[in-house]
Symmetry: C2
């Protein structure tokens, strides 16, 4: 990574506005709400993720010496403001849904209650982190649904967007239910299960494929042998020869198919292995897989025991970005609105209430904070006065369990990979609807104060 | 960032294979070639980018104490191998095209010549870095072409995939020709020009829009005022009132349109500003922009002076991942091949030669390394024995200039955003074609050595 100050992971305008707030004496309490305006076409729900990293950033938020020197060098900021930044810490409260919670359009994933300049300065990177992990956990949730219990291994490192994405993505995938990651640094950082097989280069470096399989299987317990370097079924034949030669000396766990028609090849490989009495050798598949390819393979009855999924999940190819916003909804105890075409806003601090019938979610209600609405509230206070609360410190496996449990309570139509029809219902509470309408009328009347 | 060892940004199988190489005594020289198998539908060329970070990674490559402890804890690696890793440094050579060079399918962006275990261990992260920046520079090149000289500002930080992507993306955008970034940390890290305007929250925090404009313009020289919080043309009217009230006290640089029909609104805003004698106030547009929207606006003659581009460029929405590969093409002085369906390989170390007619590129030839082919060779040696050479140390602005010059020499049909018809021609040299055919025949004959 190049040398930079973490607090400068912010858009320049956050600093320009913060300077204006400070100089104008606008130091009132603001509420900023982070939400997704609309779900991508191929997402029935999103999996909220990334809170832990957002809170870590807020806890450590400060402008270090190099940051202040750099800002001074820009010639845009006053001494008074730079002195203010030097002292600045994040002192606000954060309310958020737990990581792993399914959320829908317009539902706040997180709300920050803080002096306005603080809430403004942290916007860009809090969004960056929640966005990244929510994008990736939401995509992985679909892959997990499609795999119907068969293990999915994250192979994304090489094509994910940088080191930060590869690490935090592996974390998000774990929360979504992915079995293991090939990313060793993510294993080290988060204690995730790591897994891997064998690359073509290893086969190619040996003079013949059989020799390569033999050398690898002798050294690697539970080897997964990659069979498609020259000819897939020829490769399978060599694995069978090898398994017979090795006998009980070494266990070969599986063959890996990595090109061609994976469904057809899996049937052929399974039959060959079974005929050789090698039922114990499994079939692992990879090669540009996404949830659609996995669902098709399973629908076709393909005897594939596990899936390696790379770039499609790693960058969430079909929806690599969400229409996520971080908006001022209250300042100085007055709810605020904005009316921009196609980008209007629900005003005020909020709560999400999930209404369940038996064990199944029926609909959500977005309500005003403190408004009484029947159901299960989703937003919890996770930080108070800049200090993380117990609800903001959740073990990674607890988040994984929460995701499984919460997704398990969604209506079945939302859990398939086809678009849910009808989509999940999200209502606006009476109190919130009335507030929004009142503000809309107030601000859509052409103001005359400017004349 | 969580705590991790940089050398562990590798796939587990790289380590498993490296252990096997070490134990088998396979320490011969390997050539690994990094290339993109096919261009995305909406890319007429790619802009190679990320080499500097790949070389920095290689220079610093070592397994630190925590890495070795973690690997030991996995129970998969022998003491002998862990001791080997402790001593391991990257000692290889790297040949690469300069950052900013337009490249095409199957052309090596980079080739590593190194003892096989070294070349294997660095695969995942070298790919990660070159992939990230090539994806983003290639997308930005389209946005720059579409903007036809009007400045483009990177607004991507909040929706790019993590901190690493946001920083290195800003760098890649600069090489591609982007004017400035809103990402202050990228400004600090790379000396890039930073720019920014104003967010809706600032307007909303004030009791009225005019008051917000006044307060901001007084404090911020060359303010770009965001006019769409409540009603875009109402906002423009207030900017006109303000400009008249301020007179020559403060200069307002532009209004910013951020929602609705940007083309129509730009015509209306321009007319209003012109009628008020405010020709000096420009129009800046943002809101989900990509190269298509920019091209449409310019085709329609929209009087927009600059564009803020966020997520669409920041994650390269239409092609967030490339079909990039890093493959063994030679081991122990023998060229290697692989025949996997749809993923076959050009064997051996290579050179790319660009053949120009006058000032325009006519076609490329992928040749064997050392083969004589007329034209301009693109791959240069940038690292020798693990040490960076002068050609591997290129200033960021030099890469930007190189990109502009090299893209300027491409045929005009490649520089539009529509698919080039015909696409650029990439030939295979006679020597390389003969070698590939010879190896194909050798390895597609069902091997009998395994029986």
């Amino acid at each position: 990574m190049p040398s930079f100050s973490p607090a400068l992971l912010t858009d320049l305008y956050e600093l320009t506005m913060a300077q204006a707030y400070v100089e104008e004496g606008l130091s009132g309490e603001a509420v900023f709400s982070l939400f997704v305006r609309r779900l991508p076409a191929r997402r029935n729900y999103l999996v909220a993720c990334g809170l832990d990293d957002a809170l870590t950033f807020l806890e450590a938020f400060r402008f270090d010496g190099p940051a202040l020197e750099y800002l001074e060098s820009l010639g845009r900021f006053s001494r008074r403001f730079l002195d203010h930044l030097q002292q600045l810490r994040f002192t606000g409260d954060v309310h958020a849904v737990p990581e792993g919670t399914p959320v829908f359009a317009n539902e706040p994933i997180l709300e920050i209650v803080a002096p306005i300049a603080e809430g403004q300065l942290v916007e860009s990177f809090v969004m960056n982190q929640i966005h990244l992990q929510t994008v990736l956990a939401s995509k992985a949730a679909r892959v997990i649904e499609a795999a119907q219990g068969r293990p999915v291994v994250d192979f994304g490192l090489r094509r994910m967007h940088g080191a930060d994405a590869a690490l935090k993505g592996a974390r998000a995938f774990h929360i979504a239910g992915v079995h293991a990651t090939s990313n060793v640094a993510a294993g080290q950082a988060y204690g995730l299960r790591v897994a891997g097989t064998l690359a073509h280069s290893y086969i190619q470096a040996h003079d013949d494929e059989y020799g390569a399989f033999l050398a690898f299987a002798r050294r690697c317990p539970d080897a997964v042998l990659l069979v498609d370097t020259y000819d897939t079924l020829g490769g399978v034949r060599k694995v069978i020869d090898l398994a017979k030669a090795l006998g009980t000396e070494r266990r070969i766990d599986a063959v890996r198919l990595d090109s061609g028609n994976l469904v057809e090849l899996s049937f052929q490989a399974r039959r060959m292995l079974d005929e050789a009495g090698l039922q114990r050798i499994g079939i692992f598949a990879s090669s540009g897989l996404d949830e659609d390819a996995i669902a098709q393979a399973i629908d076709a009855g393909a005897p594939i025991d596990g899936f390696g999924v790379g770039a499609e999940m790693g960058v969430s190819t079909d929806a690599p970005a969400l229409d996520m916003a971080y908006k001022l909804v209250s300042y100085d105890n007055r709810a605020r609105i904005k009316l921009s075409t196609g980008k209007s806003l629900l005003p005020g601090q909020k709560q999400i209430v999930r209404v369940e019938r038996g064990d199944v979610a029926a609909y959500d209600v977005i309500a005003q904070y403190g408004e009484h609405v029947e159901g299960r509230p989703l937003l919890r206070k996770v930080m108070h006065g800049g200090v993380r609360m117990p609800a903001g410190r959740v073990a990674l496996d607890a988040a994984r369990h929460l995701k499984a449990a919460e997704a398990g309570r969604l209506p079945a139509r939302l859990r398939g990979i086809a678009p849910a029809d009808p989509p999940y219902e999200v209502r606006i509470s009476t109190g919130l609807a009335e507030l929004a309408e009142r503000l809309r009328q107030q601000f859509s009347t052409p103001a005359t104060t400017s004349a």
